[in-house]
Symmetry: C3
Subunit: 206 residues, 3 copies
């Protein structure tokens, strides 16, 4: 993957961190202990990239060839779990923070998924699909393991925004260059998701 | 996969279509919107073949190398979802149609799974097992994502019929040739499943 | 995998048998029939090793290249299901036996996972992680398919003990040799798990 831009590793590590944090908060909401939270955070933050690598045939998968991902996910999970214990429950505040982190993770993982797919020579349309798989699978795994219906299946503007952000990134890549196109794709997904969360806040407030 | 018969692609696309339709009806039954239905339809109709390809080491998986599968699944999902809204609920009719589509998908995906396994030089017994994985995994993923117990685990004559149909296909292959053997395997699974559904109709009538 | 020790296949087959038995008992607890129990046993006993092989890129996965695993899992599942029907329900005895088999499977699969990872040249730290994935995934799949919260997520001393046992095995490998190190790693996980189960017995007694 030598042609991947200099942005790839920092964005992927940041995405790993926010998804690990979202999982740790979810774990706290469903009364897991710090160990369960760590396991959930690993599955959530590695899940999307792992499916991407498996589907594309890029094995061993990324977290085996680069241990920084696990090295980021584990401490972030423990710190976030600790912070979640300080948030009062019942007022939906934990859920709000969780969904905001999830939105950032969705945006970042979508872009890194598109980048990896392009890098192995996949057609643009499929690269957008792979971006969507990479962006949405982690949150889906988190919700499935916690016995909740994944946002992916409940909300119209979740997978759709991931596809849209991937398309924006791809369309702008040749005109604006890597960094600006990624910024625009990221902003598209994040702003749209935050608007959706503001207009139609998630009901469940465990 | 050059030795795969001329029947492979049409049967696979048909299997994709019926499983996508079954997922869209299920999505309607559990009150998803059209977008959730599309995501569910993609996971359901690609799931079995994806596991088959991953287990056999055939990567990138089939829907990345051949975009026709996604091009079939998405519009079929939307059309089926639209048709499902016209069926009256509460009388078990949607569930009946769903189970009939599921039976056709089970039969078709089983055969294509056996074909792919034979094509990569797997022994006949294991080809039947791979056929069963390919045939049953899509419906299992659909039911898991909808928080329902998969038929695979509830019904004795589901995985068993898939194994039986795969065995019939394999046994007849040298005597009857590709097309007739596939027809016989298909008829075995489909007729037996429809009989089971008639004798012991699924209770749940959401 | 020529350098894998002579212990690998017997330990793996034993692990397959105990996990298949644990799944068959679980299937009986949630009122499945023998066929559902067999499917669940296959998914449970092959699940950990399959994820290990997929993540490492070792395809076709192990149960395709060596049919002895399926040949062990299926009859053991049927026999265990038969024995489970003779245990009285409601007193938590089935759950106790299930958890003890699960503890043995956790210990054995962890060690075989570490061995496979070392054999393909993975770093020691990651080999311990792969051992943990191999050891815990089967039970997680079993519990997810039965709509129960996996022990992995509920109990602090489950994944942690798997990591600990893998570390003990690895640390002792150069000093004590394969067999003794494996025995020590096995004993660490098993004794600790049995202690945990004694001190904090699982509540649910379906």
């Amino acid at each position: 993957m030598e042609t991947l831009s200099f942005l790839f590793v920092p964005l992927s590590l940041l995405a790993t961190a926010v998804m690990a944090a979202s999982a740790a908060i979810q774990a706290h909401r469903v009364h897991m202990d710090p160990f369960g939270a760590t396991v959930l955070a690993i599955a959530t933050s590695m899940g999307g990239g792992t499916l991407r690598d498996l589907f594309l045939g890029l094995t061993p998968v990324f977290w085996i060839t680069d241990t920084r991902y696990l090295a980021v996910a584990v401490p972030i999970a423990l710190i976030s779990f600790g912070l979640a214990t300080r948030m009062s429950s019942g007022n939906g505040r934990r859920l709000k923070v969780l969904m905001q982190l999830d939105a950032i993770g969705l945006a970042l993982f979508t872009l890194t998924g598109v980048q990896v797919a392009l890098d192995v020579g996949i057609s643009p349309i499929l690269a957008i699909v792979i971006g969507c798989v990479t962006g949405t699978a982690g949150g889906m795994i988190r919700d499935l393991l916690c016995n909740m219906t994944p946002s992916l299946l409940k909300e119209d503007l979740y997978a759709t925004l991931s596809l849209l952000g991937g398309a924006v990134y791809l369309a702008m890549l040749t005109y604006l260059g890597e960094a600006l196109a990624a910024g625009l794709g990221f902003a598209t997904i994040l702003i749209a998701r935050l608007l959706v969360l503001r207009i139609k806040p998630p009901r469940d407030s465990v």
